[in-house]
Amino acid sequence: MSALTDDTLPVTPRAIRDEMIVFALMAVLLGLVPLTGIYPFFVMQALCFALLACAFNLLIGYGGLLSFGHAMFLGTAGYCSAHALKVWGVTPEVGILVGVAGAAALSVVTGFISIRRQGIYFSMITLALSQLLYFIYLQAPFTHGEDGIQGIPQGYLFGVFNLSQPTVLYYVVLAGFLAGFLLIFRTINSPFGEVLKAIRENEQRAISLGYKTDQYKLLAFILSGTLAGFAGSLKVFVAQNASLTDVHWTMSGEIVLMTLVGGLGTIFGPVVGAFVIIAMQQYLAGFGQWVTVIQGVIFVACVLTFRRGIIGEIAHFFRRSL
């Protein structure tokens, strides 16, 4: 069985330098967005999904684990943050902390259950767990069922930054995204990340080398779920609501699609993929249900002809690791 990503290049100091340059470029470009005429809400939303997709990619691209339920972390963190902000009236930083803690706790439990099976079974289990949570949130009183939690106050971050100002909010979201991205970047290039890649390539061999692979996979799952939760908490400030759509399994499918389009197992792929998919939804919204069909076509096209994804193809062309 061939690995998910083919001909991955070894991580050399040179490759890391390339990646750092691209990262700096990305940070500068994103930092300039408020100066252009681009609709900031769209970019903020895309940034949240980009962080989500990067967190998801940490699991599949480097651990070989396809989670089909990552929306549960997005939604859970969203509900936790929204509830804390609106009902308990906490400050934004505490609200984010509550959301991230909720997602972290959830990822410990679901990770412990789901890493017991591999491959497609792992995917089906994560999908089933997220559907279980969907039904719980549908019935639980604090989520307000179909209505969701709406009109969430944005407040002042650390008592200073007024989050109801779009530009301030934008830079806060951008800072959150970049921090999350750097954490993932650091993880991938750490000894821990190397072991993860070894597990992806050949789990049996990693076990025979003495690695307790289950612990590594669980840790990667928790890290990924927690970061996905962080994206969910940030998204609460952008959208000012938390609703069932964020927990539904179609959202998990969209996360997979973003990563696949950008490039599984590439560092920048999920970011590009998230922007492409969110832009597509924004501009094709008028087509109604045809958007689903288009997404399906992209899925099929990616798997059949374009498995490396956008960034994967570019990286392959230039023989660089991106």
């Binding site: 069985m1 061939s2 690995a3 998910l4 599949i60 396809l66 089909f68 259950i113 789901s114 017991r116 099976r117 591999q118 491959g119 497609i120 079974y121 995917s123 089906m124 289990i125 999908l127 089933a128 767990l129 559907q131 279980l132 039904f135 719980i136 549908l138 019935q139 399994w249 499918g253 997979v256 696949l260 109604g288 249900q289 045809w290 958007v291 689903t292 069909v293 997404q295 399906g296 076509v297 992209i298 899925f299 099929v300 990616c302 798997v303 059949l304 498995r307």
Partner: protein, 306 residues
């Protein structure tokens, strides 16, 4: 007590659908090594084929029961030949992603044309047995197809629902017999174990794979036709069901054909019982069971290691 029996019956019916669908998934998984995410969409296509047959050509339920599985099965075989075939040798996950994409396309197209609400499909009223003419005497016996019900003493059994349970059981057992007890099934199982060797004996393995996919898809379409009069015909009827079926598959494991059948029916019944004793948990009980099984026996009840 009446309500308990009624819920048990509902459970058995849902169990029939779970069994037919997880059986199809198991057959496909055995040969193609693909978890067919499009299974729910193909189940829905089965129901829609029945609907089209009735409204476009006037062919009723009994024709649909034969034609829909064949038509959808052929559609499945085309999918296999044009797309799935190219994934041989790649990671399982690509098969999952590709079939997920196919499911999105199929469901999206149907949603565009039919919206999300359900279309009614009548229980067949043919063949009619006995004297059913309008001027028949009061005490004349008339049985209109699968309509109406039978009083069993302890409960009222709608004929159609009883039919669904018995018919799916027969189809499941026939499939089991085909795979486990016939020469064709022996080839199939051998090809699952070692395709190269079976090929060396002069058996056309790729054609067998295509036919297997057609068979699995046909089973899903058959379940769709069976469910049309009960659950109405909706574009997303399979999307909601398939995730429960995945949980069923995880619980049962995909090691054996009989395992899929028994787990499917058993989980349907357990779900039905939950609906009677603690309705709040009826949507989640299968998933909770999945968690419990995974904690105790990670390979599933009848499964071999993946």
């Amino acid at each position: 007590m009446q309500a308990l029996y009624a819920q048990l019956l509902v459970g058995l019916i849902n169990g029939s659908f779970y069994a037919l669908l997880s059986l199809g998934l198991a057959v496909i998984f055995g040969m193609l090594n693909i978890i067919n995410f499009a299974h729910g969409a193909l189940y829905m296509m089965g129901a829609f084929t029945a609907y089209f047959l009735l409204h476009l050509t006037g062919m009723g339920y009994w024709w649909a029961l034969i034609i829909a599985p064949i038509a959808v099965g052929i559609f499945g075989m085309i999918l296999e030949r044009t797309m799935l075939q190219w994934l041989t040798g790649l990671d399982h996950l690509y098969g999952l992603l590709l079939t997920f994409g196919i499911a999105l396309i199929v469901q999206g197209v149907f949603q565009n044309y039919f919206g999300s609400s359900g279309l009614p499909y009548a229980i067949p009223d043919y063949p009619q047995i006995g004297d059913c003419s309008p001027n028949a005497p009061q005490d004349a016996i008339c049985r209109r197809g699968l309509q109406g019900g039978i009083n069993l003493g302890f409960m009222f059994l709608p004929v159609y629902r009883g039919w669904v349970v018995i018919f799916s059981l027969v189809v499941c057992l026939a499939t089991w017999f085909l795979i486990e007890k016939t020469r064709l099934g022996a080839y199939l199982r051998a090809a699952t174990e070692n395709p190269t060797l079976v090929r060396a004996f002069g058996i056309n393995v790729p054609r067998m794979i295509t036919l297997t996919y057609g068979l699995g898809v046909g089973l899903a379409a058959l379940a769709g036709v069976l469910s049309a009069p009960i659950n109405q015909v909706r574009p997303l009827m399979g999307a909601d069901l398939i995730i429960v079926v995945f949980a069923v598959v995880v619980i049962g494991g995909m090691g054996s054909i009989m395992g899929s059948i028994i787990t499917g029916f058993a989980l349907g019944v357990i779900e039905g019982l939950t609906k009677y004793f603690y309705p709040e948990a009826s949507n989640t009980v299968v998933f909770v069971l999945m968690v419990l099984v995974l904690l105790v026996k990670p390979t599933g009840l009848t499964g071999r290691a993946a």
